[in-house]
Amino acid sequence: MKRRRQELLLTLPSLAWLVVFFAIPAVLILAIAFRPGDLRGGVGEGWTLETVKALGNPIYLPVMWRTFWLSAATTLSCLALALPMCWHMARVTPRWRHFLLLLIVLPFLTNFLIRVFAWKSLLHPEGLVKQALVWLHLASEDTLLLNNAGAVLLVLIYTQLPFAILPLYAAAEKFDFTLLDAARDLGATGWQAFRKVFVPGIRQGIVAAAVIVLVSSLGQYVIPQIVGGTGDEMIGNKIAQRAFSDRNLPLASALSGALLLIVLIPTLRIAWRSRKEGRD
């Protein structure tokens, strides 16, 4: 019994905190989704399915589709960039490795909004990047680098890259690189070794990185708001609009609940998988 008591003592503080400030609020959100909204901006009395039915409104489809493809594109791009980076970092000397890690993390330590805003400056119609592209004949005077889906994707990739690199790097560090030498001895080219030995070897890291980036992108709304145009709203923008502009808390909750369920599926799978593998 002493062991059980020890377990409870260690577990209770964080468990209690998270139940009160995480689990219960999540349930509350789902609950509010089943109440009617009232015009005064609060939550109405009684229970109803109307709010949830309102999710069936066709206007949400383009937004959900856009959210999904932007998040997927961000995830794939981040993985495509992070994999070769981690390959390189894991093979250089520890001094270089730490230096590179520092370089990657440093921008991360600056205020998020400011970094996004700096992109507005970089992509400005009269800014350096645009002028350089025009000079290189890659763009015309009228091309707009800002306020469109491309800008949103670029800034999404920019902000999510560190989240992809770090878990991949952690996995790459533990990878046994002698396996690659063995593959080469057996006649594989560098690229084949990369694809058939390295990538499967750090599979857990890749999955973790993919889930983190995907989930994080799905809920974004600040980036589309700042660098996006009129047709680039994501589901996060809709939730914010419902919660604040439209004074419709139940509908905001219903949307949040839908997003929560979408996000939960890959997350729980990862959590259970890693717990299982940790146990073995």
Partner: protein, 336 residues
Amino acid sequence: MKFLIPLLLFTVSAFGAETLHVYTWADYVSPDVITKFERANDCKVVIDTFDSNETMYAKLKAGATGYDLIFPTSYMIQLMEQEGLLLDLDSARLSNLKFIDPDILTKVHDRTMKRSVPYTLGYAVIAYRKDKVKDPQPTWAMFDRADLSQRITLFDDMRETIGAALKFLGHSINTRDDAQLAAAKEVLLRWKKNAAKFDNEGYKAGLDSGEFRLVHGYSGDLFQVTQQNDKVGILIPREGVTASCDEMVIPKSSPQPALAHALINFLLDPKVAAENMEWMGYLCPNTEALKLVGKDFLENPAVTIPAEIKAKSEVIQDLGPDIAKYTKVWDAVKSE
């Protein structure tokens, strides 16, 4: 560590004095005016800003009870009153109420100033870059200009933007007619193709920097931009504009009602109001203060709009349950 000492002194001094919490729009009161008030009353004024009435209201309903003075737009006040959020004002402490222009009282919800006092009168208008826009015309039809495509912004505000389309079509901005709203929706979908984004605050910086060439903006904010950048001009659409009156209210939960009254009265003082007006660019409906401001301030079209356009202008009103019609139009415009 040079800044630590003044920082410490700053925070320590704040402990001794009383603090007044103000919740208002960005750039909406002159910092010099605030400093004068702080000195005269030995207090500290902390200003939090919101960028939409709805956000402010949501925050209040969610339990933000520490505010002493709030600056909502007139149509919001009806709602806040019904919710019992507002304190009855003590007119004995507001000797400067007499300077309020009686004409503005006909436009606002609370005509006797029982719970709200008018602060500014502003209009939603258009501004443009003189060096980038050829042949500017004072009409809402400017949003249809294909040569300005992707360099235009519209308000990210349901009532303001639908209102502009309604005015363009010659209807009232408070209409409940479904056919008129459907026509407005079509107009907005057309304008949306030309618009770079829907924006409520960033348009000022965007116009100033040349990112945008034509913006939908508030008269006072645009006035501020013209002060700093002479390449910016203002157009008052001849079909009429939306007028809004922002007012000062004290929430029932205010911890410092006496000090809040003092600030209201201070802002109504003609000299203070004149100085504040010229900094903000918005008109304060204060008869004495208007006599003290510079002539070129008064003649700026953003401040005093031509009488015939004023006659066609309307104030946004709360529409009760019919607001759902507008929400439907707005949702459709935003997602298609």
